[in-house]
Amino acid sequence: MPKHKERYQNRTEILQGTLDMLILQTLQWAPRHGYALSKAIRTNSGEILKVDTGSLYPALHRLERKGWIASEWKSSDVGPRLRVYRLTQGGRRQLMTERSRWERLTAAIAGILDPAEKENVR
């Protein structure tokens, strides 16, 4: 069925907003290559979030194009050289915006899901 690609794109779309933030957040502490990045996200989320590599690489290239992350090739002990991504200044700013937006969003959703708690907060 030709729907295959469509379905694939839908999934990236759902993830896209948060994936970008997760990548930026994970790169905040240290530069990483793609595999390490996906592993870090998985580990840090307690094995709950599994990053789809089909979305990871497009996301990395897109973020690099926007200038939020930068990459360089580093030789490694394992054999092939690795492309290592690091956060830029612009990326840091972007992370702040995305985080605050995310917090607003989660707070809002929490308020809807649990009105009582919202009262308490007030």
């Binding site: 590599t53 089909g54 290239h61």
Partner: protein, 891 residues
């Protein structure tokens, strides 16, 4: 570009490396958790997912995807063209011819009609025209101004810089041999108003623009080149024009002309004491103006209109009812516009047929590629991508065809211009310029889209499985319908062109059977510039013409000679109103008649039949009774069926008897002394539909002296010969030079040439429409053949089955022919309806067209149907020869 490719290639390699490293690391991780090498590799791959898709989606984020897709499509298109050189050659040839012809026609439309005047800021140039109620612009052109009115307007205007221009012609007698030349009498501002610098010397100054100033002249550029070899020492030398000596002070800019041909000489209108320039009743002055900075056309219009109404009040006897108008100045191209648009329309039809043909070829290909396309959809290609690819192919085809077409056009433009009947106005400005190129590119892309749309539309997106399973043999109904639509529209377009050609052919055929009203064989028409000495003294002019006639008669081979101011086939034109009673109603409402003055031998020279009464003779002269001769058309229209002989007409505009210099209305009656046959003055084909057909003749001997000089500029000499007429030209030229050797012949033509020329436009159009129609017919037949061959090919299994079940070859043939006949007849039906409408357009745009007739349809339609059926015969025969066993096994 190359860099972009290299960069992309590099990034691609890097991406692959990155992904490979990822896989390697994942594999290593899996191995560490205890899997075998093989298991670890599979696990890593599984977790990663589709490497190809990941790469593609990543590449999308790099941007410029459309460009690389496009380049890929382009390569693909080129490769697929390479596999089908025959198809590409046919398609390119069709398009190149179609686009080439369209481009040539558009170059003409562009150069003649669309380009602005070749002066700086052309849209600030205006013309000032006069207007009186009842003035027929179609017949007489725009009404011009009286010189005195121009001077008043010019003095009062704050919004316009104005200049005057009067056409004139006369004998240039020195230096060298006398020559008859056209000259513009201009006011000193003309060149500065046009904003063009002179090629040499200086322009006229305002102080020189008055009677009594030293006579100065400016030479036309071409004349200067031919006559003076472009020498600059011509400045300060003198020329003699109409017996007046002028000092040359300048040379006009190259190609400078306002309408008509480039004049040979410019003089100052203010230096000319001629009576008609100092009388407000005559309006010989063209007025051009340039808007002063900061003023608008509307302001100028208001101002000039006001000046006009002031003049109408102040000089009521001459200017009553006349208003003045400001119009944007446009090049004067006569009625060429309609012909050009007509031809552009016709070539567009041919191009359309070509496009339809290419479209049907492409579609046939697209249908046979359906499986391939379906396979690509199954592998993940989107519909947009397939459509884009189809359009890339057709766009490429269109542009390549367009490129060839432009090349054809730039080669063919020159010969085509030479081929144009008569003088094409502004021919020098017809070039392949950016406008034309833009047009060609636009047309190419548009036709590319036009014929690419159908195949692109067919790009399969639904029922992919069905197509893949069914194999190539079955065929969707929509494709068959589309193919049928192609055949129908081709036939319809071809019908339109065929009918147009048929109408033109019928018109010409009819015209060649018409009697011109005179004997056109052995008849020579020429003009003579009378000796300037004679012209200077009106009293000597009649004798001067008599001398010319006598001298011409002495030439061996000449039978008879006459002088006349209007020659049949539209040489000269004088239309005036007449009344059958002395109580003349409003002048503007009078019926019009074509009035011609002639010497007594006119009837004999022209061989026009005398129906009643007599023609005038030597006794009809100034002072004797005013007489006229009418033709049978006037006799009938003025007096119904009654006797015209002996009756009188009142012709207020006839300037014949008043021995005064003023143009005052003539109140005397003119007695009809004879009725003669009608002459097809407007040309063989056009005369029947002309607005003013009635004709009358009056004796040249009764033209009053003040008008003789003006009349002499208009007179022609007609010579009836007993030998081939052109053989007497040389002795005539010698003999007519006159006693002082200062008379020149010009515009020498035979009446046969003139009659031939009167049908030139129709003949030219017939030829072109004939070519277009033939082209359309051939294209349509190729199209029908192609489509039927294709459709029949698709039906071979069905045919095989029918034959296996007992159908005879004849029945199978009939099956195919019936299908094609249905399409053809539908096309004929639609085409006929469209042709009826376009026939009307043709009648309106081309003079002398006979209305569309049943016989035109009766000849052209069977012809087309026959040709189309012949084209479908071959596929039909092929179908009937199908071997049923073979065909069924194919399935």
């Amino acid at each position: 570009m190359k860099w972009a490719f290299w960069r992309r290639e590099q990034r691609n390699e890097e991406l692959q490396e990155e992904i490979q490293a990822h896989l390697l690391l994942a594999e290593r991780g899996a191995k560490e958790s205890g899997l075998t090498e093989k298991q670890a590799r599979h696990a890593a791959r599984r977790e990663f997912g589709n490497v190809g898709v990941t790469e593609e989606v990543t590449r999308d984020t790099w941007g410029w995807r459309w460009l690389f897709d496009f380049l890929q499509d382009l390569c693909y298109a080129l490769r697929s063209f390479g596999q089908r050189p025959g198809f590409v050659a046919v398609a390119l040839l069709t398009l190149a011819l179609g686009i080439g012809a369209t481009t040539v026609m558009f170059s003409l439309v562009n150069g003649v009609l669309l380009k602005p005047l070749p002066y700086p800021d052309p849209n600030r140039l205006v013309a000032v025209n006069g207007h009186t109620d009842g003035w027929n612009t179609k017949v007489n052109g725009e009404q011009k101004l009286a010189y005195l009115d121009f001077l008043d307007c010019q003095r009062e205007s704050h919004s316009l810089d104005m200049a005057a221009l009067v056409y004139n012609s006369g004998t240039l007698s020195a230096p060298e041999l006398p020559q008859y030349v056209d000259y513009y009498e201009i006011s000193s501002e003309l060149f500065s108003v046009a904003h063009v610098p002179l090629a040499l010397g200086r322009a006229f100054s305002a102080e020189e623009d008055r009677i009594g100033a030293a006579p100065v002249a400016i030479l036309g550029y071409s004349f200067w080149q031919h006559r003076f070899d472009g020498r600059s020492d011509v400045l300060g030398s003198s020329i003699v024009l109409e017996q007046k000596q002028y000092t040359v002070v300048g040379v006009a800019p190259e190609g400078f002309r306002l309408s008509g041909d480039e004049p040979e000489v410019y003089t100052l209108v203010g230096q000319d004491p001629a009576g008609y320039l100092h009388n407000r009743a005559a309006q010989p002055v063209h007025v051009v103006g340039r808007l002063r900075p900061g003023t608008t056309v509307v302001q100028a219009q208001a101002e000039v209109a006001l000046a006009g109404s002031r003049l109408a009040q102040a000089y009521a006897d001459t200017n009553k009812g006349r208003s003045l108008q400001v119009r944007p100045l446009r090049p004067d191209v006569g009625d060429t516009g309609s012909t050009l648009w007509l031809l552009l329309g016709a070539v567009t039809l041919v191009l359309l047929i070509g496009c339809v043909n290419v479209a049907s070829l492409l579609l046939a290909r697209a249908v046979s590629r359906e499986r391939e396309l379906a396979m690509r959809v199954a592998l993940g290609a989107s519909q947009g991508r397939l459509v884009r690819q189809c359009l890339t192919e057709s766009g490429l085809l269109g542009l390549a065809g367009g490129l060839l077409g432009v090349m054809l056009a730039s080669v063919g433009l020159e010969p085509f211009l030479k081929f144009w009947p008569g003088e094409l106005p502004r021919a020098a400005e017809v070039q392949v310029d950016w406008r034309v190129l833009l047009f060609a590119v636009g047309v190419s892309v548009l036709s590319g889209l036009l014929f690419g749309l159908a195949p692109a539309w067919r790009a399969p997106v639904r029922e992919v499985e069905q197509i893949l399973r069914a194999g190539a043999r079955t065929m969707a109904g929509s494709s068959r319908r589309l193919h049928s639509a192609f055949v129908i529209s081709e036939i319809a377009l071809a019908i339109v062109l065929l009918i147009a050609a048929g109408m033109l052919g019928r018109t010409l055929l009819h015209a060649s059977t018409l009697d011109p009203g005179l004997d056109i064989r052995n008849l020579l028409v020429l003009r003579v510039g009378l000796s300037p000495t004679t012209l200077a003294d009106p009293a000597r002019i009649p004798a001067g013409w008599q001398d010319v006639i006598d001298r011409a008669r002495r030439v061996p081979g000449v039978e008879s000679v006459t002088a006349v101011d209007i020659v049949p086939m539209r040489e000269g034109n004088n239309q005036i109103g007449y009344s059958t009673s002395a109580d003349i109603p409003q002048k503007e409402k009078l019926p019009m008649v074509l009035a011609s003055s002639a010497t007594p031998d006119y009837l004999k020279v022209m061989s026009i039949p005398l129906l009643e009464g007599r023609f005038f003779d030597d006794h009809d002269r100034l002072g004797s009774e005013l007489v006229i001769i009418v033709d049978d058309v006037l006799a009938k229209s003025a007096f119904g069926g009654n006797e015209a002989l002996g009756k009188s007409l009142w012709i207020p505009d006839m300037p014949c008897v008043q021995l005064t210099d003023a143009f005052v209305d003539c109140s005397a009656p003119y007695k009809i002394i004879g009725v003669v046959g009608h002459v097809r003055y407007w040309g063989l084909a056009s005369d029947d539909q002309a607005q003013v057909r009635a004709q009358l003749y009056y004796p040249f001997a009764q033209v009053a002296p003040p008008f003789l000089r003006r009349w002499s500029q208009l007179m022609s000499i007609a010579v009836r010969t007993s030998v081939p007429p052109l053989s007497v030209v040389a002795p005539l030229r010698q003999e007519l030079r006159g006693a002082a050797s200062d008379q020149v012949l010009y515009q020498v033509r035979t009446m046969e040439q003139l009659a031939h020329n009167s049908l030139e436009l129709q003949r030219f159009l017939l030829l072109l429409f004939g070519i277009f129609a033939a082209l359309a017919l051939v294209l349509a037949c190729i199209g029908i053949y192609g489509v039927l061959a294709y459709l029949t090919g698709q039906r071979i299994p069905e045919v095989g089955l029918r034959m296996a079940l007992g159908a005879s070859p004849a029945e199978v043939m009939w099956l195919v022919l019936r299908q094609s006949l249905g399409l053809i007849l539908l096309g004929v039906g639609i085409g006929t309806a469209v042709a009826l409408a376009t026939g009307r357009v043709l009648e309106r745009l081309v003079e002398g067209m006979l209305p569309i007739s049943l016989s035109t349809f009766a000849i052209t339609i069977p012809f087309l149907v026959l040709a189309a059926m012949l084209a479908s015969l071959l596929p039909a025969r092929r179908a009937s020869q199908v071997d049923p066993m073979h065909a069924l096994r194919q399935e």
